[in-house]
Every structure is written in structure tokens, then in C-alpha cells.
Symmetry: C2
Subunit: 216 residues, 2 copies
């Protein structure tokens, strides 16, 4: 048995990949939440999956909600950072929106577990998750601001309200992944490619793709 | 206490709207599944919400999964019937796809509870829900077939794979409703309006809207 930071020694050899006990707990919880359901998963079940005592889990997380909050934060931290950087970048709005959509779809595909499927949990409506909801709203607003700018650049007549849809189209990769059971790699180009025409934009996608790749 | 078909008499006066005990059970379960979570809801909790004994509930449904299956079926029966009718209708593919998207978004908005939020439950991957998944796949295929026909009619160059996205855009009304907490009535026109340009179609939306309204 090896001592791993705070908490009691492990009951058994480590069962999961992960740099730290915290990372192992998050990975086990993500698997159980996405495969068995959030309501059906207990902190005891998570501790068992990691091979630690339940009491040791509580050295890292105060509650099951805390674990969910950390997992959800992980799904938007990187795209939100990119969106903040893109907001002040000199490139055209089309290139910047393409870059954000491409990065976001790719990271939703690359994640080991389809955590976006948890966005629709009723538990997320509680005050406990207000900070996460606010950050996801920020990300949504970045998408909408860029989309409005693309519509203005395109000078065409987009459907009124179309700026609301790129964010939704990007998140639909979560539904595709859930239905297909595997990350849909084809969506990493398809969804960003579809976002711009949705806004009435009629430029050259191959040029935009290359410029966006440069930005990320 | 009144005798209501099979099962024991009610413990208390009826607590919910509904024509039949079965409808009351479905309504209560839909509320609990969407507000408290599927895993966190018990058949006992559903029976309590209706004001009947748990044993009476089992006269109508064999299990909680059975109730979920009936609720999910209710979300696709009507759009699937329409899609089957539209598949052999003489109108242009653009008008038929518009009609299907409009009807489907409207019914997802009009439903008392946002049941589409349950599509991502891991429980749905089990054999128990194979029939539901097959019917939802049928609906998805109707969308894709119509979308391929719209792309062919439009004669433009749509993004390769764009035919996969109208179904996803329609179902995104579920996410919008979940985030906003109320059915987004503006989406009933916005989403169908956005579906056609996504496919490279450049016709007159007001003409298409009117023709589609005629079809539904």
C-alpha cells in the first residue's frame, strides 16, 4: 500500500490511469456518470472504482456535486480561454468563429468521456452550479458575438436569429457522439464548415480553414 | 374514494390533470424525471405524486423503464407519422423538410415537460430501449433523406455531410429549452428557417413557409 497525499493508504493497487488521486477520482466519476447516470452513482461507487476508501475521496471533494462541477468546468475552460483570446484577435470574424467551433468540437470529441451529455441534467439548475452555468453562458455569448460579426461581414441576409445557432450546432456533437457510441471524427470539420453558411457567409472554406488552423 | 379501472382505490383525491390514471402517472413521471432526474426518481415517488398506491402504479406499468419508454415514444410518434406521410407527398423536398422541422420543433416546444432532455440518458443504451432507439433512427433517416433531396434540388454545393445536421439542429430546441427554462417559441420559425440555407438552398422562405403550413 502506498500513501498518496491526503487520505488513508489505498486498499488495493491503483485501478485507473491518472497522474494524481484527484485525476483518478475525476476519471472514474466521469465514466460512472456517463455510463450509469448521475443519480444512480454514489461517492461510494466512485471510491470503489478508484480503489480508495470513501473517506479518502472526501479529502479531495466535498460531495458528488463537487466532482460533477469539476468535470463540467473541464469541458469549457479551454474553449472559453480561446474565445477570450479570439475576441481581441485581428482576423476576420469568419476565421475566428471557425477556429472556435473547430477547437470546441475537437475537444468535445477528444475527451475520454462524453461529459457534455451531463449539461441537460436537472441537477445543474440548482444554485450549486450557478458558477458553471455563468461560464457556459459566457462561452455562448462569445459564439453569438462572433456570429453577429460574421453576418455583418457577409453582408448577406441571414435568417433573423441565426446568430443563436452556431453554439447549438457545435454542442450537437455531444448528441451525435451519444447516438453513435464513439466520437464522430468527421464532425470536427463538418460542423465548423456548416456554421458559416448558416450565417449567410459565402467565402472560400479552404482558405478559412487554413487561417483558423493558424490561430488555434 | 373512487375506483379508477384496475388497481386499488385512491388514497386521496386526484392531484394531477389527466384523463386516465395512466395519463396521470405519465405526467407525474415526466415532471419528476425532467426536474429531479431519472436515477433519482422511484416508482414510489411517482405513485405519491399521483396520489395512488405503488401497487396501483404497477397495474399500468411493469417498471420505471416502462414509464420512460412510453414517455419517449410520445416524443417521436407524431413527427414520425408526419415524416412517413411526407416521404410520399408530391411537394418539393424543401417544403417537406421545412414542414417536418417546423412540426417537430413546435411539438418539442408544446410538450408540457422537456422530455427530449432524456434522450442522452445512459439508460437508453440498454436493450430495453432498442425499439425506441430504432424508431428515433427512422425519424433521423427521414430527415437525412429529405435533406439529401433538398441539396439535389438546390443544385448548389452544400458542405459534404450537411444532410446530417437538420435533425441535430431541430433537436437543439431541447437544449435551448433546458437552458432558458421555458419553451423558446421563437425557435419554431428560426430553426426551420435555418435548416434550408444550411443545405445550400437559396429559395424564398416566405413561399416555403406558406406551402409547408398547408402540408401539416
Amino acid at each position: 500500500m502506498t500513501q498518496l497525499g491526503p487520505g488513508r493508504p489505498r486498499l488495493e493497487p491503483r485501478r485507473r490511469e491518472g497522474q494524481t488521486p484527484r485525476a483518478e477520482i475525476l476519471d472514474a466519476a466521469a465514466e460512472l456518470f456517463t455510463n450509469n447516470g448521475y443519480g444512480s452513482t454514489s461517492t461510494r461507487g466512485i471510491a470503489d472504482a478508484v480503489g480508495i476508501r470513501q473517506a479518502s475521496l472526501y479529502h479531495h471533494f466535498a460531495s458528488k456535486d463537487d466532482i460533477l462541477d469539476a468535470l463540467l468546468a473541464g469541458t469549457i475552460t479551454a474553449p472559453l480561454e480561446l474565445a477570450e483570446r479570439l475576441a481581441v484577435a485581428p482576423e476576420s470574424a469568419a476565421v475566428r468563429l471557425y477556429a472556435l467551433a473547430r477547437f470546441d468540437v475537437s475537444q468535445l470529441c477528444a475527451a475520454r468521456w462524453n461529459l457534455g451529455a451531463l449539461y441537460l441534467l436537472p441537477e445543474l439548475r440548482s444554485e450549486r452550479f450557478a458558477a458553471f452555468r455563468a461560464r457556459r453562458d459566457e462561452l455562448r455569448c462569445h459564439y453569438e458575438t462572433l456570429a453577429v460579426a460574421v453576418i455583418a461581414e457577409a453582408g448577406a441576409t441571414a435568417v433573423p436569429g441565426a446568430e443563436l445557432l452556431p453554439f447549438r450546432l457545435v454542442e450537437s456533437v455531444i448528441n451525435i457522439r451519444s447516438d453513435e457510441g464513439t466520437p464522430p471524427e468527421y464532425a470536427e470539420q463538418l460542423i465548423p464548415d456548416a456554421v458559416l453558411p448558416l450565417l449567410g457567409w459565402k467565402g472560400d472554406l479552404s482558405v478559412t480553414r487554413a487561417a483558423a488552423a493558424h490561430l488555434v
